[in-house]
């Protein structure tokens, strides 16, 4: 018991450290960086032209929600990868690798492994059954009102947490990179995001995401190549140098030579990130299955014309994301060798100027000079902007298509009024996002992205999977089970150490739920809830639900009768 307790405490400390690394954290304001601002300005002007072009093509609700279904698999793959390669993952993972080496790799692998599962079980079925939102799929054969209300709640809760994390990250990052005030940064992000979504809808949101993905992949590739070139493209030479630098730093910190060598070498293997298997598996499940329940990712499957393109888009997305994580790993090691040894990037105590998350930014300066530093800073800002725009669009679709169009108007809303509601919602969400971004400035929000994944895995994913694959699933089972998954994942997160102790300030050790992620438990609650309340459901509606399965299955397997997304 005692041993387990010690291991657990170690894990929590380590996960806290990594989570803090992936969160953009509190940042000191830097001097105004005009190169970065100029580059970002150029990006904004360019994307506004795209928005203008997109606006001329955004006439109907279908254009607004899904870019008229005219995105190719390759383009959509880049856009999905762009949604996934957020600033937190670029700066956070490279910083985590710089700090703890191999543990950063374990963390990034968790984000990648959900994609094959999405491909095998959901991608083409989503395309065949859905039109605008994942609720179209989840409610296909069920009573519309309750399932839509659930799906919209699941969407809005996930979007809210993800959005707060991105907004706070944006404010901190921009304060850091551009030397602007926090509130100014948050307002700029909110205002630009509203312009993209309002006028350009899904077309503009997708193209902004594609352009940013190309810039980010290009910039990161350049950095990784520059780092590897220094070592004659030998990873062994790079690792050896990093180990010797870490050893020297430990020795300078007053460690005995033997211990310093041990600390130096520790970046080459797993450290404290995974100690307790239950937390490890629970966290892994949140990342793996959460990917298959994130509304802003799921909606991208409706922008391609057919199942074949849907499959191609996940393959491209997986490839780009996997490649990107390999790059961030090299960038993290590059930061050890170039940044930690250069007094230009360090303060008097030897810590990184501007905070730990500046690893990749300083490395950009080291390998490419001030202009490249400006470029990478602009890319980081563009990244947040593009991700926030996608999130807002998926939240707006849930309100206008699911709540207004289907629940309030009972499916009789015309395209124009649905479009108007989604635009009003976009403005509301934009204002709320800015307000929350400012309200949460000083809060510890490291838990919010993993919470968003845990909710997506425990509420959205079980309902989607069971409604598509299990004939016995009924309206009542899906709604009750889905809400149980949603409530339990939020509740368990609140009483976990990351929120109960770190954010709410309760004394250490007082958290009721000891693990880092609720997913293992809340996913089980979601699935068992759906199963139990479905088999207990003897209502007339349950019979209708089951009778509808055959038609749903035929369409999900073959796509015959699916909404021809392009051309409406």
């Amino acid at each position: 018991m005692i041993k387990g307790g010690v291991a657990l405490a170690g894990l929590l400390a380590a996960v806290g450290a990594i989570a803090a690394g992936a969160d953009l954290g509190q940042a000191q304001k830097q001097a105004t960086n005009w190169t970065a601002i100029g580059m970002f300005g150029a990006f904004v002007v360019f994307t506004l032209f795209i928005t203008k072009w997109a606006a001329s093509r955004t006439k109907s609700a279908a254009d607004f929600y899904t870019a008229g279904g005219g995105i190719t698999g390759f383009q959509n793959g880049l856009a999905i990868a762009g949604d996934y390669m957020s600033a937190a993952s670029f700066l956070g993972i490279s910083a985590a690798v710089m700090t703890s080496g191999f543990d950063g790799l374990i963390y990034s692998i968790g984000f990648l492994v959900g994609w094959p599962v999405v491909t095998f079980l959901l991608a083409e079925r989503l395309r065949n059954l859905g039109k605008f939102t994942f609720a179209d799929v989840a409610s296909f054969r069920f009573a519309q009102t309750p399932v839509r209300v659930f799906a919209a709640s699941g969407t809005l809760v996930v979007v809210a947490f993800y959005l707060i994390a991105q907004m706070v990250g944006a404010g901190q990052l921009i304060k850091l990179l551009f030397g602007l005030d926090y509130w100014m940064a948050v307002v700029i992000v909110g205002a630009l995001m509203m312009v993209y979504v309002l006028f350009g809808g899904m077309t503009a949101t997708t193209w902004v995401q594609i352009i940013k993905a190309i810039m980010l992949l290009g910039g990161a590739s350049f950095m990784a190549i520059m780092v590897l070139a220094q070592f004659g493209f030998s990873t062994e030479a790079m690792f050896a140098k990093a180990v010797s630098i870490k050893t020297d730093l430990a020795a300078k910190g007053g460690k005995a030579p033997e211990e310093a060598a041990k600390i130096g070498f520790s970046i080459m293997g797993p450290g404290g990130f995974v100690k307790d298997p239950i937390s490890a598996i629970s966290f892994g499940m949140a990342l793996m299955f959460g990917t298959a329940g994130l509304p802003h990712i799921l909606m991208r499957f409706f922008t391609v014309p057919n199942a074949k393109e849907a499959r191609k888009s996940v393959l491209w997305a997986t490839t780009w994301i996997g490649y990107f994580y390999i790059l961030t790993f090299i960038i993290g090691f590059g930061a050890i060798t170039f940044v930690l040894t250069n007094p230009q990037f360090l303060d008097a105590k030897g810590a990184l100027l501007g905070g730990g998350n500046m690893a990749a930014i300083h490395l950009a300066n080291a390998v490419g000079g001030n202009v490249f530093l400006g470029f990478i800073s602009a890319v980081a800002f563009a990244t947040i902007l593009a991700v926030v725009a996608g999130l807002t669009l998926s939240g707006a679709s849930a309100v206008s298509h699911d709540l207004y169009g289907t629940v309030i108007k009972q499916g009789k809303a015309d395209s124009a009024s649905e479009l108007r509601v989604s635009k009003i919602t976009t403005v509301c969400l934009g204002i709320i996002a800015v307000a929350l971004g400012i309200a949460f400035e000083k809060q510890n929000i490291a838990f919010m992205v993993s919470l968003a994944f845990a909710i997506a895995a425990s509420a959205n994913f079980p309902v989607l999977l069971m409604s598509v694959l299990w004939k016995g699933c009924t309206t009542r089972g899906a709604v009750i089970g889905g809400f149980l998954g949603l409530i339990s994942s939020v509740a368990l997160t609140v009483v976990s150490p990351a929120v109960w102790e770190a954010t709410l300030g309760n004394p250490k050790g007082s958290a009721w739920f000891p693990y880092t992620s609720p997913a293992l438990f809340s996913m089980a609650i979601g699935f068992i809830g759906i199963w139990l309340f479905s088999i207990l459901d003897g209502s007339a509606r349950a019979q209708v639900d089951k009778d509808g399965f055959l038609a749903q299955q035929v369409r999900s397997e073959t796509g015959i009768g699916a909404a021809g997304a392009s051309g409406h």
């Binding site: 094959p116 050896a240 598996i281 892994g284 393959l315 996997g322």
Partner: protein
């Protein structure tokens, strides 16, 4: 979709073949992915010294190629599914559609 069309498609032998093949292929690959990923996580949880052991004379550890393998495996297994689905499964779907809609 009308129910009689759905029933007609559902009774098509090629539809049965498509459904059976794709479902079992999808679950097998899902299982393979889970074995690889959770195998990696459990290795990290229970056998750290193995992952931290050196490959050869240098500092590169066993964990590095294993981590890279998990990333590459993820991409390759997705490619395997997409390849088979885009040829074999789509051909079956086309046959079913032609049969049902004539």
């Amino acid at each position: 979709m009308q129910d009689d069309l759905a029933r007609r498609i559902a009774s098509h032998p090629k539809y049965q073949e498509l459904k059976a093949k794709r479902t079992s292929f999808g679950w097998w690959l899902t299982a393979a992915m889970m074995v690889v990923y959770y195998g990696f996580i459990l290795l990290v949880a229970f056998n750290k010294p193995y992952l931290s052991s050196r490959l050869g004379e240098g500092v590169t550890t066993v964990g590095m190629p294993i981590g890279l393998f998990v990333i590459v495996f993820t991409i390759v297994i997705t490619a395997i599914y997409v390849r088979r689905a885009n040829s074999e499964f789509d051909a079956l779907t086309d046959d079913i559609a032609k049969g049902a809609l004539k």
